[in-house]
Symmetry: C2
Subunit: 302 residues, 2 copies
DNA sequence: CTTCTAATTTGTCCAGGACAAATATAATGA
DNA sequence: TCATTATATTTGTCCTGGACAAATTAGAAG
């Protein structure tokens, strides 16, 4: 299939990359990239390849790199950076079927992907499945995407399938009488909910009751929801795609709208760089911290 | 619980309402609303109540109202407008359990909500369930929200539960050998995927094979996905929350990246105002048009 | 090698102006 | 009176160039 020359307005690029118009314009002036053409009206027109590069840069920034360093790197240097990332942390089993899943993803066959994952879930049980499969595979999928080895829609498909699998499994286990009552969601602009569901799995297995509200809840309404559902905890997840500088402000903003008795648990890759801000806000940098915070909570309340 | 005085920056308001900074500033100048305070730095600071009002106004604009008319209305007049909307279209059964579902929603009890809907699904079967329950209830839920009678998180919960129910039911019916192969997703900024799933139900029942990729796929990648999955059709859904003026441009943009043999089916409330643009793009203003377009497609290819 | 202070980097906000596409209103002819 | 065309208004988006503070890095002093 041939390549159609396409070019996007600054507004479209903002929507597709999540980088604000202001940032796009400032980068252009400060670093010389992006370097859009202009149409007859004098308006910026971004070639598709620059948009792809912008996405990659944004991802690397989520990993802690700085724009001034990234902006003048060659394409291959960018991909290299994406490769040398965190070690997949997971247990010993890693690597074995992780590769297999990736292959299935690239084969564009939702049914067998779902089948394979479903079988793994049966074999390993929920707890192990989350720990040894869902988490490492998610990381590897993210990395592969960053290296340009996996397309966006392949990543989406993975999320979809995994999401469904987990939700289906979780539901029957989620006893309404469980404690603590944890309200789970993400803030606006944070569309990734897979991490949230993996966390929910751990929580439910640990005896909590999860109220899963789906992603992208306005902060204000998170407060209302916590009140209405009588939640003991509000759990949020942040991916690396969420702008680092906004994490803390948004947590504090939420803090204001919650009764002081309600704790905030913030987890996910996008939260790793933060120190515990106290005030009932807990930063869960790794999945296992979830368990410790939870047992701590239970202890406190009994 | 008491009301915390909260105030948001223009950027936060943009994220929470989906109204761009440019629009917020222009409205302020042109209509005198919103009317934010200023902090010591001279920057806009929006009180929570104005943000709520902005959300309401945005919703009414999606229904076809114009900003200049809305901006100076009183709170009650706004709510009134939200009430006099489209007639729930649905069959005779409407109203009976629609109210019941609303009540369950307001009771904040996910389990019984899911239970009730699940039972309805069993009783009615998928086709009727979508037609007589999912569609009318979705409309009513949207309206109730607009009138301020339903909170955002209650709407989210509804979407979550319904989404799960449909996905679970659909999967076993979705034969890979079905024709046409329909790729289903939404464009960036369009986060509502419930309409898409309802459409998928009709399609699968009609013998199509749906590849459901989840919401918010960059346009570029929709093209790649269509190629990779060898899709015959790309189906998109637009809610009223999606800015009207952007619908057609985004469809044309997508058109460019697809092989001419691939059709585009665009449905949902956000598409009602459009005329058929031709060129393999079909506008499905109502759910039943889906069936006719589909049978037409099958006819064409045999 | 730490700790504190002074650059530098970076994202966000502001004002005010320009423009074209969409929509409404007026004018015209059948 | 109705339909059509021309004119006016409304509205969202984009532009430039400047300002500022929070976050980060580099440098100085202990």
């Amino acid at each position: 299939m041939d390549f159609y020359e396409t070019a996007l307005s600054i507004g479209t690029v903002e929507r597709e990359t999540g980088l604000s118009k202001d940032v796009l314009r400032k980068w252009e002036i400060r670093y010389g990239f992006p370097n859009p053409d202009r149409d007859t009206k004098g308006e910026r027109v971004y070639p598709a390849e620059q948009v792809a590069r912008l996405r990659q840069i944004k991802h690397l920034m989520g990993l802690g790199h700085r724009p001034s360093k990234l902006m003048n790197l060659s394409q291959s240097e960018l991909s290299d950076l994406a490769a040398h990332k965190t070690i997949p942390a997971g247990g010993s089993v890693t690597g074995a079927f992780v590769e297999e899943i990736l292959t299935l993803l690239r084969a564009h066959d939702p049914a067998s992907l779902k089948g394979r994952l479903g079988r793994l879930l049966q074999e390993q049980g929920l707890r192990l499945f989350v720990q040894d499969t869902a988490e490492p595979v998610s990381i590897v999928v993210g990395e592969a995407w960053a290296r340009g080895e996996l397309q966006v829609f392949e990543e989406h498909l993975y999320s979809e399938v995994m999401h469904n699998l987990l939700r289906g499994t979780l539901e029957p286990l989620n006893s309404p009488s469980g404690k603590p009552r944890v309200l789970m969601t993400t803030v606006p602009e944070e569309g990734h909910s897979l991490g949230l569901l993996m966390a929910a799995s751990s929580l439910v297995l640990g005896g909590a009751h999860c109220i899963y509200l789906g992603p992208q809840m306005p902060i204000d309404d998170i407060g209302n929801a916590a009140r209405a559902h009588n939640a003991n905890v509000v759990a949020l997840s942040f991916s690396t795609a969420y702008p680092r500088r906004r994490v803390l402000p948004v947590l504090l903003e939420l803090r204001q709208r919650l009764s002081p008795a309600v704790e905030i648990w913030a987890g996910g890759m996008g939260v790793r760089h933060l120190a515990e801000p106290g005030d009932g806000i807990h930063i869960l940098a790794t999945p296992d911290q979830l368990e410790s915070v939870m047992s701590q909570w239970i202890e406190n309340k009994s």
